[in-house]
Point group: D2
Chain length 347, copies 4
């Protein structure tokens, strides 16, 4: 007499169904719908000095033009083979040597650049150059033509932050290369910033609205955001969980810089330690200046200037500053808010 008819019957059913691509939800429901996020990613730190060495060696071995983009991918140790730093985001360090160009292309993927070192190279977006200085933020939004070149006499290195895994996930990648290395120049450097970056916009109906109205601005200079952060620090007590923090915005709608990526900067005053905070947007950080310690759940990272680290979704982060720490950060918060998914928790 079978005392366990159910147990015996289910495996047989599973075996018969599987070839029909039918599977029992009840065996996996609790893994599919978890009570809180369980990130596939792992906290990780990249020492800039090490990465820089490898990048310069790569610079001796392959040209920017040959590579199309000469970039070292920062891949999350827990996501091997994915080229992802978090499940939804990509991070890479790009090198352009003096005299080099990276040819012009465009794609459905949205990108940001954050300058790690060097000064005077450019990113051109739809034919307008942003002359890049250390710690500048430059955007190349979805489907805008872009190329890079280094007219300075020193190597130029920046962080590339893209939504490559997000576009791959939604299976919506499109890309094309422009014939020739560079887009014809369409405007002098700074032109867009003057039209859209000063709380102004071209009067509607005039030719002055040269750029796509929904996402015109692409250069956020260090000189501007750091002055704002300095002022904030002078005026306010630090937020217990964040220190001082400012988000970059799209002047066309006041929202995040791109539909898939949000970016912000933080200042942790000297000697200050933030309280634990977690959020669902796994976040990539760059140490712009200062030093200190980051604690991400059980993991502790000693932070030095220009180091990069990643905090996965729903991992509690505390930051302790030695000398005042300034951080740049980007995440998929823009996408998560658009989809009604973003949450945070503060202890």
């Amino acid at each position: 007499m079978d005392q366990h008819p159910t147990e015996a019957g289910l495996p047989a059913l599973y075996r018969e169904m599987a070839p029909h691509h039918l599977f029992p939800l009840w065996e996996v429901l609790h893994a599919l719908v978890t009570p809180a996020p369980r990130s596939a990613a792992r906290p990780a730190l990249w020492r800039y000095a090490e990465a820089r060495d490898f990048l310069l060696r790569a610079g001796a071995l392959i040209s920017a033009e040959q590579a199309e983009r000469r970039v070292l991918i920062l891949e999350n140790p827990a996501l091997p083979g994915t080229s992802s730093v978090t499940p939804s985001l990509y991070a890479g360090l790009q090198l352009i040597l003096p005299g080099e160009v990276a040819p012009c292309h465009r794609h459905a993927q949205s990108a940001l650049r954050f300058v790690m070192e060097g000064s005077g190279a450019h990113t051109a977006v739809d034919g307008e150059k942003a002359i890049m200085r250390p710690s500048d933020l430059v955007l190349t939004p979805n489907w805008q033509w872009h190329d890079h070149g280094n007219g300075s006499d020193a190597p130029m290195i920046w962080l590339d932050g893209l939504d490559i895994p997000t576009v791959r996930f939604f299976e919506a990648s499109f890309a094309e290369r422009l014939d020739g290395p560079a887009h014809p120049e369409t405007a002098p450097p700074g032109d867009t910033a003057l039209r859209y970056g000063r709380n102004l916009r071209p009067f509607r109906g005039t030719a002055a609205a040269r750029r796509p109205g929904s996402r015109p601005l692409f250069h956020y200079p260090h000189a501007e955001w750091s002055a704002a952060l300095d002022a904030l620090e002078a005026a306010d007590a630090p937020d217990p969980h964040l220190g001082h923090a400012l988000e970059f915005t799209n002047p066309a709608d006041g929202g995040p810089v791109m539909p898939t990526i949000a970016a912000h900067v933080r200042r942790i005053p000297a000697g200050f330690t933030t309280r634990a905070r977690r959020s669902t947007d796994g976040t990539v950080f760059v140490v712009v200046s200062g030093s200190g310690t980051a604690r991400v759940e059980g993991t502790e990272f000693r932070l030095e200037e220009r180091d990069l680290f990643v905090v996965p979704s729903w991992h509690a982060l505390e930051i302790e500053a030695g000398p005042a720490l300034t951080l740049f950060a980007y995440s998929d918060r823009a996408a998560q808010e658009a989809l009604g998914l973003w949450r945070e928790g503060r202890s």
Copy 2:
């Protein structure tokens, strides 16, 4: 003399970098940023009659309450182990037997139900029941409490469409169970439809705005959508690529039913064949009535009533109706449009 210093040098570099989680973009760029989508999924068809048999067998082996949800997952043959029907979406067939309940829970995942057979069971959302009839659409949006029960005397089967893979991708899953099997009744069936479903809304500032204002409606009866589709067919020539098609909307903003999922219905007139159309939103279809043939790139499916099939991203679809075909469909178009990624192509 080494004539290929570069080739020799790069592998060495790669070997040294890998332990530092640094990898060369130029070896993978063309796979990461493709000129057009290359879906990981494959076109697939599930015969309803077959799936139904397995489901009823499962019904004899495990109770709805034991299973929490007694559902067979329709997993894409090209995505084994993922419980996904497309990379971003989930599909399952749920059975509730007479007298059964599926206990009350809520989660960050958004769900739709499309009734395959049976009449009179209910989905309760935040304590208000939708009495489900064949081919009704019922929503259980993100973080709204829901439970199911079958007070009828026949089995009830519906399709569950969820954004489980999307929430997993963004690592933003939250869930909780309510104590006890059912949420207390908060309103009679149909209450929300009367308040929000007739191009009306409760006067703001009154208690009548009982439901969350941004996403109040959750029941779209077959009687309504099929009458609209009949009228459309009587009035218009069919669109060459779509036949007649109506999208379900959220009355609070006129947009898609949920932030991550869009749903629509189509009618292909008897004898009509649609021209090839592709879009970036991989789509799950249910044959509501009629029969015919679907051609998805090289694959051909013979369609019978209640069959289910999936068309991956950027796969050209042509549909040929024998007797008039009525289809229900859902996809991630809502998410893709919010993120600026959605595209279509018509031949």
Copy 3:
């Protein structure tokens, strides 16, 4: 020696400045910027029976076609010569006799119609007829072609509510007449309601999106709104200040029916008296059914079926129902909310 140099000096200054069109703010500031609204309008009531008699006499004296629109304007007694019922709104009673047509025109002014008596006449909007039944609401939004005709065998009377004073105030009136009395028929009656009025919309990119997407729906039948109001009354306790109230919405965005005009319906249960409530949107009411008393600051109106009354901005309104009272109402709340001006006060 002048002991009041200032007083003497100011009048002289005023006299000299006036021809230069310069005037002292300080003499009028407190009238221009008041601590609370002081309406130029006055509460007023129109007995439907009286107005109807005049309207039928007008019907014997001038044809609908001669008049272009045979309408009696309900002018606020405190706003003589303005054709306004409140400073921003217009109200009129329109008569179409059997066999008559009102010729086709369009204008920047937005209009609503609320049927007072008769059944079977039509308003055609861009060539699609709404067959009008008692207490139906019909819209003719800004710049949409419209004409009326009465194919029934009885006189048809409706209330016209327009934003004529608002468009006059902003000096933005445009209008044109169509050659010929009627727009060619573009769709059968009810076509738009089926495409847009059932929480559906035509699949984007198909010809089915025949109507302007931002404002497609124009017919809100009494059968629908009254059933919703009945259900609300059965389910909820009345709101102390409003009774039961539902606002008509634009399904394309979930907002008010037109950018300048909002409309709603109320039910005051038999024997119920609402508490005093004031709001900045002066409001026109129609007694759809029932009877009772309205108290508007010091003024008291006895209400009978089909009577019309107006409550100016910021006048406290209390309504006492004898038998249950059903009211239709429209106001400029839509405009005021768009401009950040709307407020209410509840006692």
Copy 4:
């Protein structure tokens, strides 16, 4: 036998109806709904030198504190007794003498200030000062506390642009005075500009979001807008109808500076004449620098630095620059666009 029964009958009907506040639409329809706007206003010019003299005389006769606001209203010659420069807008010239304050109040009316002369006085908004320089734009939006003071050693004069007639029209005026002359200081000058004016915003959820998020910025310095206009002139050919033109925006949403008022600046290159353009938004202009001629339908104005002029709705405007002309302008375009009424015509 009466050969004109209709004509005889209508006047009698009109006489009988009038006491019931009922009037025939057909006698006034063509005046109410005109084929194009007929402005009640008239083009007008105010010489700054003249107005300034009167204003300084007023300064000798009444204190800023006594006057609450010491302002000369620029009243449209065709709108006597209305304190309006166009039907929807107000313009005035305000004088603050050294050491004076204008006491703190707030109101539903939205205001802008454009500095005509003087440097170093302030407008404080919710307790944060904007230090005002010539040709700066300063906002005091709806219901934000504001006061003014002149700590410099010279008189300070600015243009006040408000929506007083619009708020009066909608009967939605609210106002209150703060006890004491000034709001306590809440932040140092420039604090808001640093938080919100550099394409940044305080990270959400932190105390740094000190200002109302929907309308935080209130100071648009001349140094910024004129640099942008200079750059535009260097880069582009002038628009034939506008010259070079930039609109001020609200960084929180990328739209107009306030819900009722839009503001912009123009540059007409030396010797350039714009083609005729009309729009429904009657507009107030200030000559910031340069000189030239404005032709408004039949009227011609010789323009000198700091003169002010008004162009009514739908009046064709051509501007001829002698030396390059820079203009500041404000209008009700923001309101008209929100209400779906705005149009322009270009010849």
